[in-house]
């Protein structure tokens, strides 16, 4: 009697269980539990709203606050994944040393758990945008699908890469801390995409290369979906001559490349995980 299921389907249960485990552990012992996934972004938005009002800070644009918090929430997924993925493998040493199973499941479930959490944080964001009348109802919202898909691919790739590196080099955690800050500033989270393209002026006609930062394109997709093309076009119209919207595709391609790179690193690292852990 062999009870084992065959094929890749047999690992789906494990992905599901590990993802659920990562989510459970996140709020283990807290009274409000998963409600924090809703509460944290809601309170974050509230704080930005309150302080921006008090300080009368709007960067000279009518919907700056909506622009900002959508960037913050989206960035939160990437940042959360970066931090959690440090221990996606090292933190499961007892499993890795004990049983043979596809290692990619570990970082993958880290990314998925963060993805689920991100979808929850999306609820207060969408609510806020709707309440302030900046949410664009319509088929444009479908842009969320590729946005989330490529974002998830990017996060999974990062989780594999960072998780693998941190097994062998404990320096990774420090590098990730500072690297994350640099990446944050390289991504138009709190400043406008137009400013990024202006800063890349030295690239001339090649300034579209800023989209090689995958978060640039991913964030553009999210904002296009949420706030509409009129307010948040994929590429600012003043640069449309140099940078056609298909440059966003470069970001998406980089997302997939990071995923492949991450899986390759994991595969290479897997040969010696058992020794290093």
């Amino acid at each position: 009697m062999d009870a084992r299921a065959d094929g890749p389907g047999r690992w789906l249960d494990l992905v599901r269980i590990l993802t659920a485990r990562n989510l459970k552990i996140r709020y283990k012992g807290s009274v409000l539990g998963f409600l924090w996934s809703l509460l944290t972004p809601a309170l974050t938005i509230l704080m930005y709203a309150v302080f921006a009002r008090i300080l009368k800070f709007n960067a000279g644009q009518p919907h700056y606050l909506q622009f900002l918090v959508s960037g913050i929430i989206v960035w939160g997924f990437t940042a959360g994944c970066l931090n959690d993925s440090l221990y996606s493998i090292a933190g499961n040493a007892n499993l890795v040393k004990k049983v043979r199973f596809p290692r990619a499941i570990l970082p993958l479930s880290t990314a998925l758990a963060n993805g689920v959490n991100f979808l929850l944080t999306f609820v207060p964001l969408a609510l806020y945008l709707a309440l302030t009348g900046t949410l664009e109802w319509g088929p444009g919202l479908l842009w969320l699908l590729p946005a989330f898909a490529f974002h998830l691919a990017l996060c999974a790739g990062i989780a594999c890469l960072v998780g693998t590196l941190n097994v062998f080099f404990r320096d990774t955690q420090h590098a990730v801390g500072i690297g994350q800050l640099a990446w944050f500033f390289l991504t138009p989270v709190f400043y406008f995409p137009r400013m990024q393209l202006e800063a890349a002026g030295f690239l001339g006609a090649w300034r579209g290369l800023v989209f090689l930062n995958p978060m640039t394109g991913v964030l553009a997709l999210y904002r296009r979906a949420l706030m509409g093309a009129a307010e948040q076009p994929l590429v600012p119209p003043e640069f449309a001559a140099d940078v056609p919207a298909r440059w966003v595709g470069a970001s998406c391609a980089v997302c997939l490349a990071v995923l492949l790179l991450g899986l390759a690193a994991l595969r290479r690292g897997d040969r010696t995980f058992g020794d290093a852990l």
Partner: protein, 408 residues
């Protein structure tokens, strides 16, 4: 050392585990690997320092066979098991398995402390690739076997180590693998659970499954294994009949243990204990060093002394200490006994007998001393001069059996 020839199994095609010339070298690194040290080593062209954990090990486990692996800490037992489990790669050689492998490495390893017993069981099943439905059906049996029904919805961080192992063992067995790897876990858990485990393992074997069992407790291994492999410093020294291999192993470990107990002596040396012996009650011979006493009663010890100059009013003493804890079980001297010795000059002998019938079975160290009556001058102290292994059928808690009478 005594060599028990490593039997070369025939290629009868009925193997479940086949380890062929496996060598494993680990890279040695500092306490924590860092990019800096890696870069420096690389730039200096320094070859990585390595440690050989397994050296050309070959063994084969047939279906329906239980093989025990014994060896001291660091002999490579766990490394071998990890290589068979597929979580560590051999540097050279191959390790193949036929069928699904379930392993019980370390104490309930793989359990997450924050998850409940139930969640951990389901997680383990998923890792073993067992469909959820199957795990649900077997769940009650797993919990029953572990005897943890009341605690199964508690986070396992609240479990005792015994509960951990019980749950670990019952999950590993209940996922019904073709090959079960067990690392050093049966030492934990109460007698009742150990018996259940042994029964389960027997049932397992009867169903034609293979089992590999690691322990440094030779007695567990001897009870369940069909064949025993003896690893030392990464080499397979012997593989074969449990009785032969375990007696070879016991000889080695006892020799090593004897060497590790330092026999020390100090004192002014004006008078010395030149020889300390115990009379073996079985043969009547004087024995020095270590000896085994089977159900000892009144046991005689003989000392020879020599005095370089005349020493007046000396006191002879001895103490018996439990080897595991170094705790002195009993000690006394001629002064306490009121036997005054006027003087020592030249050479002579002295004997005493002591009733050892109440000692708990185990290992004891006997020390002797020769000092002045006022305890100010220590002429000679002979620490751990004799090593006694007491074997008897006594069963009680503690080190000494005190006479007890119950009134009920």
């Amino acid at each position: 050392m005594s060599e028990v020839p490593a039997t070369e199994p025939r290629d009868d095609g009925d193997w479940a585990i086949d380890v062929s010339r496996v060598t494993k070298r680990f890279r040695l690194r500092g306490a924590s690997a860092s990019l800096k040290t890696a870069a420096i080593d690389f730039l200096r062209g320094r070859p990585p320092r390595t440690f050989t954990a397994l050296d050309d090990v070959s063994l084969r486990v047939r279906r329906g066979e239980t093989v025990g692996i014994v060896g001291a800490n660091g002999a490579g037992k766990s490394t071998l098991l990890s290589i068979i489990a597929g979580t560590i790669r051999a540097t050279s050689g191959t390790a193949r398995t036929r069928g699904s492998v379930s392993s019980l490495l370390e104490l309930g390893a793989g359990f997450h402390p924050d998850l409940t017993g139930r969640e951990n069981v389901m997680l383990y099943g998923a890792i073993m690739g067992i469909p959820r439905e199957t795990m649900r059906r077997r769940f009650d049996e797993i919990v029953d076997f572990a005897g943890l029904a009341e605690f199964i919805d508690q986070p396992v961080r609240h479990y005792s180590s015994g509960m951990y192992v019980r749950l670990g063992f019952s999950v590993a067995v209940q996922v019904d693998p073709d090959i079960l790897l067990v690392d050093e876990v049966l030492a934990v858990g109460d007698a009742d659970f150990q018996r259940k485990c042994l029964e389960k393992m027997a049932e397992f074997r009867d169903r034609g499954k293979a089992m590999l069992l690691i322990s440094h407790d030779i007695n567990t291994v001897r009870r369940v294994a069909d064949r025993v492999a003896y690893l030392a410093k990464g080499r397979l020294l012997a593989f074969g009949d449990p009785a032969d291999v375990s007696s070879a192993y016991e000889r080695e470990t006892e020799a090593a243990a004897a060497a590790s107990v330092a026999q020390r002596e100090w004192g002014t040396g004006e008078a010395r204990i030149v020889r300390a012996a115990c009379v073996d009650p079985a043969t009547g011979e004087e024995r020095t060093g270590s000896l085994a006493l089977r159900s000892p009663g009144r046991t005689e010890f003989r000392l020879r002394w020599g005095a370089a100059r005349r020493v007046e009013w000396p006191v002879f003493g001895f103490s018996i200490a439990d080897r595991a804890t170094s705790r002195v079980v009993f000690g006394t001297n001629t002064q306490i006994a009121g036997r005054r010795i006027p003087a020592l000059e030249g050479e002579g002998g002295l004997a005493f007998s002591v009733d050892l019938s109440r000692l708990h079975p185990g290992d004891y160290l006997v020390s002797f001393s020769l000092h002045s009556e006022d305890h100010k001058t220590n002429y000679h102290r002979l620490e751990h001069a004799l090593r006694l292994k007491v074997e008897n059928g006594l069963w009680f808690d503690g080190l000494v059996s005190l006479p007890v009478e119950w009134t009920i």
